[in-house]
């Protein structure tokens, strides 16, 4: 299949691995930001092809994983209301809030529906004017344009029964936070390709200059990621710190201008709490006042939600690249995809879940997985 097979090719993978082997003289720690990239790395066992000196750690780029607990509790509250139809992307359904998850709310009678696009949520709102249709608008810059489009369209059509519970997050402020941490180990970043298709990579150039750190915009296929690693290691070995674009077949420097314009029209930047990382200034998006009617946080009383996150697992350290999932004592024992302690074990893109799925048997005793 075109655009797939050539990027999942053993010969190309081995050639890139050999090149890396020749390049590397020192130990380097690199981070891929995006959960989709983490998934590819584990699904294709890319670390098996890397020289021992190159270590990949997994960043905070899984939108499901970083959505704060109280936001999920708000979603659960809304989904439980008798007049609300709660619409979400599929992988939010299993994420535990403080007491339940959307799958359980659905089983208890809540009207919870899965869609592939926010525009499908608009269709539900049009078809059911008697219902309050709320869409769970989460994600990074990648999903923001489609969500902005849905809100803009709803206002345009006067669709008063449609609102969004927005919990958008932005990548560059999280990287900044990681780089400013005195515990930071990461020497180079694979920037999230899909985010950059929308946003371009100017913001990453600024980060690269400010912190003198190499950044390579990377794709999502196995040889994309290997090539991005080769490019990062070349920069590091040569003492360069620049932004380079490995994912040129999809990403342009300026990104997608009409999409960005729409996002700016509908959303404004706000401070946002990240699950496992805490408050990060100017790291999120919320609806502009003009769209307040379509803002679920304005439409419903959602104040008074606060959730204690007891120190049970090491997700936050994993999100910062300070620990690997298998270093957590709960991994595969008290924390499994069936009984997740934290969101990283829930989403397919969460690092812990990816390790469990593709590596579990290496760390879990004989006789199969529990």
């Amino acid at each position: 299949m075109k655009y797939i097979d050539e990027y999942r090719n053993e010969k190309t993978a081995r050639r890139l691995a050999a090149k890396l082997e020749r390049l590397v003289t020192r130990r380097w720690v690199l981070m891929e930001i995006c959960g989709g990239q983490t998934h590819t790395i584990l699904r294709y066992g890319l670390d098996q092809l890397l020289p021992e000196k190159v270590r990949l750690v997994h960043g905070p780029g899984c939108p499901v994983c970083v959505t704060p607990l109280e936001m999920i509790d708000r979603a659960l509250y809304l989904a439980s209301r008798p007049n609300v139809t709660f619409v979400s992307y599929g992988d939010m359904l299993r994420v535990p809030g403080s007491k339940s998850d959307l799958l359980q709310v659905k089983a208890a009678g809540g009207d919870v529906r899965v869609v592939y696009s926010p525009l499908q949520a608009l269709e539900i709102a049009r078809a059911h004017p008697e219902r309050d249709v709320v869409f769970f608008a989460i994600g990074f810059e990648t999903t923001a344009p489609a969500n902005a489009k849905a809100v803009w369209q709803a206002r345009h059509e006067g669709l008063t029964n449609f609102s969004v519970l927005a919990s958008h997050v932005l990548v560059p402020p999280a990287i900044r936070l990681l780089l400013k941490s005195p515990r930071n180990l990461v020497q180079g970043f694979v920037a999230p390709g899909h985010v950059c298709t929308v946003m371009g990579y100017r913001e990453y150039a600024a980060l690269s200059r400010e912190f003198h750190v190499p950044v390579v915009v990377g794709g999502f296929e196995p040889t994309d990621l290997l090539e991005a690693v080769v490019m990062l290691v070349s920069q590091l070995e040569e003492g360069r710190a620049e932004v380079e674009n490995q994912y040129a077949r999809a990403v342009k420097r300026e990104g997608n201008r009409p999409a960005r314009k729409l996002v700016t029209k509908v959303f404004r930047v706000c401070d946002r709490k990240w699950r496992g990382m805490g408050f990060i200034p100017r790291s999120g998006l919320r609806l502009r006042r003009k769209y307040a009617r379509h803002d679920a946080e304005q439409r419903f009383d959602l104040t008074g939600f606060s959730a204690e996150e007891p120190a049970e697992c090491r997700s936050a350290e994993v999100l910062q690249g300070l620990a690997e999932p298998i270093e957590c004592p709960a991994f595969g024992k008290r924390c499994t995809p069936q009984h997740p302690l934290g969101a990283l074990m829930v989403s397919a893109e969460g690092a812990c879940s990816a390790y469990y799925r593709y590596r579990g048997w290496e760390v879990i005793p004989e006789g199969g997985l529990p």
Partner: protein
């Protein structure tokens, strides 16, 4: 930033779920848990404990295969089939993968009040044709009508009885290290066809369900060799669930080769788009056979000689390392495990 800026915390685990979730019917780990915690303890007996797709009971020296399956597919009609033909294929296939020759079927209809009579007639006619093609009669049945909202249009249940010929002994606990794993054709077509129809996804090129009765294919294999250990039709939970079940029940490991597993471009494309893995997508007309190495080529030739097995491949082998675990050699030459999912595959955000 100070370290205090990070909160090194994570949420507490959920209490055990108090209700049945959709995922309990997915064929993944939740289904397994339901079976283990609720059904097996209640009905514990040696026949059930085999956990095959069909139960084998001995009557007057004859080995009878007995199985039952319910069908709740939405929409009722989809490209390549409908609930009527599916109800025949599902039950016939559960019989034949145990080596049985199907004898007869029952059909029970749970109908929602208000269902157009024309719809019911179409389903019944399709069921009759499928049964005739598979060479079985529907010899008994039942009808219930429930109030509007009590069923989603129409639910169907079929049960089937078959006769296991002398000398045929197939069971999911028979796989042995060294055996070869054969797959009859490309995977994921039924699941994606139904999903695309249900969600109104406009995909490039039509994807038809592979729904079909496997009696001819199985007969061809069993005529070609006596060295078949076991067979499965990889329905819900997909190829992954079928292989994992055999690996666990036989206490063996498996190694499969990603590049050997056929997936049609249309199905692959839909899966890429939706963030689904074809290994976990349902099939309704495919067969997995575990065969002794010495007979693998003759079994493969027999499969390829049948219209339903033209694209058959040897996709891997059974091994004595990592019992209960299915390992896959990926397209780029690395390895990973193919685990059971917790519940249904959930489409990803981006």
């Amino acid at each position: 930033m100070s370290d205090a800026g990070f909160e090194l915390t994570c949420p507490a685990p959920l209490p055990a779920g108090e209700r049945v979730l959709l995922g309990h019917g997915s064929g993944g780990r939740l289904s397994e848990a339901l079976l283990r915690d609720v059904f097996l303890p209640a009905f514990s007996n040696p026949v059930l404990a085999q956990l095959n797709d069909q139960a084998e009971v001995c009557v007057n020296g004859h080995r009878l295969a007995f199985t039952t399956d319910s069908f709740v597919v939405q929409p009722l009609f989809f490209p390549g089939g409908d609930i009527g033909s599916l109800a025949v294929h599902g039950t016939v296939n559960d019989l034949v993968v145990g080596g049985a020759r199907p004898l007869c079927l029952s059909a029970a209809f749970i109908i929602e009040e208000g269902l157009p009579m024309e719809t019911l007639r179409r389903v019944v006619s399709s069921l009759r044709e499928a049964a005739a093609e598979a060479g079985v009669d529907v010899v008994t049945g039942d009808t219930k009508v429930v109030e509007k909202g009590g069923a989603d249009g129409l639910f169907l249940n079929t049960s089937g009885i078959g006769l296991v010929p002398e000398g045929v002994r197939l069971s999911a606990d028979h796989a042995r290290p060294g055996d070869r794993i054969l797959l009859s054709g490309p995977i994921g077509e039924h699941g994606i066809a139904v999903l695309a129809q249900r969600e109104g996804l406009e995909l490039e090129g039509p994807i038809k369900s592979d729904s079909a009765a496997l009696h001819g294919l199985v007969a061809a294999i069993l005529a070609a060799t006596t060295k078949v250990r076991c067979m499965r039709d990889p329905t819900r939970g997909g190829l992954s669930a079928a292989l994992n079940e055999i690996a666990v029940q036989s206490r063996v490991g498996m190694v499969i080769d990603e590049r050997a597993i056929p997936v049609r471009a249309e199905v692959q494309g839909a899966c890429e788009l939706l963030g689904l893995d074809p290994l976990y997508v349902a099939n309704e007309g495919k067969l997995v056979a575990i065969v002794e190495a010495s007979a693998a080529d003759s079994a493969l030739a027999a499969m390829r000689g049948d219209p339903l097995g033209m694209d058959a491949r040897i996709i891997g082998r059974v091994c004595d390392t990592h019992p209960g675990v299915v390992e896959m050699r990926t397209a780029i030459g690395t390895t990973r495990i193919v685990d059971l999912l917790t519940g249904d595959q959930l489409p990803r955000i981006c």
